[in-house]
Symmetry: C2
Subunit: 445 residues, 2 copies
């Protein structure tokens, strides 16, 4: 084995990135969102980068994993999974001495706090290491990441405009400068159509997804109808993040069957999704999910019950680009559609998404991305959409370059934070505007 | 893209390799079996090798595929599948002018002749090209094939002894020299135990598979019982190639439940396998298959009906090493066991099997291999089993070297053949001993 491929250094850099006041059923995005940038440096002096969630529970696992990958060749990505499991045990042991481990507490309570479960947390951390390893390997070999995945089957990857109900500005925080933008508020159908128009004009997006679950369903139905009128024949999606009852889900499915390409997570959990899926069968409208099928163990039951017709993959949740390809193979085999989910992310993850999407034959829909909402980045040259698409990079590795001054500044913001924004908490942000706010129980409507 | 990785030459070399008179429910192995050796040569001057079935229908598809991969980088293995589909159309068109295409005729008749269907044929051809590309890529980069698959998770791969009822010699053929060996006949329990003993002594195999479906079930039950007595506690398998009725399958399952680790393809087809699976549930004995689940489209129904508990993967059938990893991911996700099937093959395919097996976490059983029965090879240094295992090669590519004089001699045999042995036909071989022999209808017992 070529020892120059061995990992000699790992740098973990938690950052806070500006995020607009985007509304969802849980609350509103905070002004800054934590992300973690992972750099692996090989003995050969090549640096690869990856990006994932940056909340404390991810950092708590990333640190022991960083220790345990030292000396591992960047080719040995299959071993990251068992190393992460061992790191998780190490982290739990350390937390046992120092205090409760939030991930372990989540699992014990059967609950969630930003992550579904320990497996998803672990795989989300692994994904950043895997992407960093592939980036370093590609740079070492002079091959793009898509080539390391068997080669691209398309030259461009299409993305969808991600529409949000939003405020013009974040609620004021004492002694705190909040990021601003010029998008203005969007709180009704015409606001959403204006937002969509700007997305279409600026980036060429042809398909539109509206994050719903914010207003009563009839208002969101009206917004989708307004989009359909403004962009006739173009693909539309609505995603209330599981906020609706089965009955409401079925009503929306019936009312929007002629204009939606899919309805995303109308109800929470495989049971309700299966009920909705059975009830909507006559409408021909597929149900998509990034909530009830987010890990491999959840697939079996959901597919057996035909609870979802489209899985929205996410290389973070699923443990990297190679696992994403395996998920795609499973969907292909079981006749389930495939598209791609997005959470707040930067240009490293968008590059990773584009590389893997380029290699998957059964990518049936335009991928989601929050990217246009992020005004800050840690790469030197921002990705540029053309006709709603990104050209698949053919440069070595991910084809991006880390902007070190920008990374340092965003890390400085994380260091300076008193802790309140280091954990993403959309409900806490909402309470600044509505002190009585609590995370709504589902079904909300 | 590095143009030195582009394919500049493809060499297709059909060969005939010596095969002992091994019995199965269809008949007996012919004295020589056709295989196809695929070499891809890059512009950089690196040669990669692959191996697959060598019957005429495989050659008919391999030739246009060889033309269409010219100039393709050896990294672009994802594209082999669509190129092979196009090549299949080209081959069908050409055959349309020149005569019937055997594969197309098979499909039209809904029947088989050596291959299950057109997809399996196509993927079996693709597999040899994929393995050759990975071998060439690995040699170019100085990386073993397992590293190109994400890295090995074990250093040794365990194989199983493949026991056959057999004759001491092939039936005589006029004006034809048949290969000989010193194994002698094995036609009863003591013959099978002697064969197993020799396998164990010579190669260290710890698990044993008996190819059944040759004699009435009670004789084969007695042979397995004799093996269990001779090798107490060691894993045993019995595979009658679908020759039994549901009732017979269930009787054998009950009688051998305490000594078999799995029962392989007792009955033919997903319907019968599902019936057997339901009936044997109380025995705890898993059913394995390399017959009712051999392509991705067959998985869905078989898994939904719990017709099989172990899939025997085969990188030829499934379209290469990367598809084998995807099959493994599917089995992992659906709680189905995984092991590896073998047909008559040489050292190139055994190397390929070992590399992919080394990377699959959920390889639950020792892999099958015919390799010890093959006295001829096309590689310079034969694989050597130790404790029934092969050490995973860490040399670049597959870690093997083509023996060109041997290849030329085996190709000369193919050229000299009048056509009778270029198509594997176990029933035709059996008719030399029993002129009235026809392929038995299933269920045979």
């Amino acid at each position: 084995m070529d020892t120059s491929l061995a990992i000699a250094e790992v740098h973990l850099t938690p950052i806070l990135i500006a995020d607009p006041p985007l509304l969802n059923t849980q609350g509103v995005h905070q002004p800054y969102t934590p992300r973690l940038i992972v750099e692996v440096v090989t003995r050969g002096g090549v640096t690869g980068v990856g990006e994932t969630y940056g909340d404390g529970e991810y950092l708590a696992l990333a640190r022991p994993l960083a220790d345990s990958v030292m000396g591992l060749p960047v080719t040995d990505v299959n071993r990251l999974f068992s190393l992460a499991e061992a790191a998780e045990c190490a982290a739990a042991g350390e937390q046992g001495e120092q205090g409760p481990d939030p991930a372990a507490a989540d699992v014990a309570a059967g609950g969630l706090r930003g992550v579904r479960n320990a497996a998803k947390l672990r795989l989300s951390v692994v994904s950043a290491f895997e992407v960093a390893c592939l980036d370093a390997l590609g740079k070492t070999l002079g091959l793009p990441v898509h080539t390391l995945l068997g080669g691209k089957v398309r030259d461009r990857v299409e993305y969808s405009a991600y529409l949000f109900y939003r405020w013009a500005a974040h609620p004021a925080r004492p002694a705190f400068e909040t990021p601003e933008d010029d998008w203005g508020a969007a709180l009704d159908p015409s606001g959403i159509v204006d937002q969509a128009r700007r997305f279409a004009d600026a980036y060429g997006f042809r398909s539109f997804k509206l994050k719903g679950g914010v207003f009563p369903p009839d208002e969101e139905i009206a917004a989708v109808r307004a989009l359909a009128a403004a962009f006739p024949g173009q693909p539309l999606r609505l995603d209330p993040n599981g906020a609706w009852s089965v009955e409401t889900s079925l009503r929306v499915a019936r009312e929007l069957r002629d204009v939606l390409e899919y309805l995303e997570d109308p109800a929470s959990g495989t049971d309700r999704m299966a009920e909705v899926a059975a009830g909507r069968a006559g409408t021909g409208l597929p149900l998509a999910t990034n909530m009830c099928v987010t890990t491999f163990p959840e697939i079996r039951e959901a597919f057996a019950r035909d609870a979802v017709q489209v899985v929205l993959s996410d290389h973070h949740y699923w443990g990297g680009l190679r696992n994403t390809r395996e998920l795609a193979a499973i969907c292909r085999t079981f006749g389930v559609g495939l598209s791609m989910h997005s959470n707040t992310h930067l240009g490293i993850s968008l590059a990773a998404m584009t590389h893997v999407a380029a290699t998957v034959p059964n990518l049936d829909y335009a991928c989601d991305t929050h990217y246009p909402w992020q005004t800050e980045d840690v790469i030197t040259r921002r990705h540029a959409f053309e006709d709603g698409c990104l050209t698949v990079p053919d440069a070595p590795g991910l084809g991006i370059e880390l902007d070190r001054p920008a990374l340092a500044a965003l890390h400085r913001r994380w260091l300076d934070d008193d802790g309140t924004l280091r954990e993403r908490d959309d409900a806490a942000a909402m309470r600044l505007a509505d002190p009585a706010w609590t995370t709504p129980a589902v079904p909300r409507w």
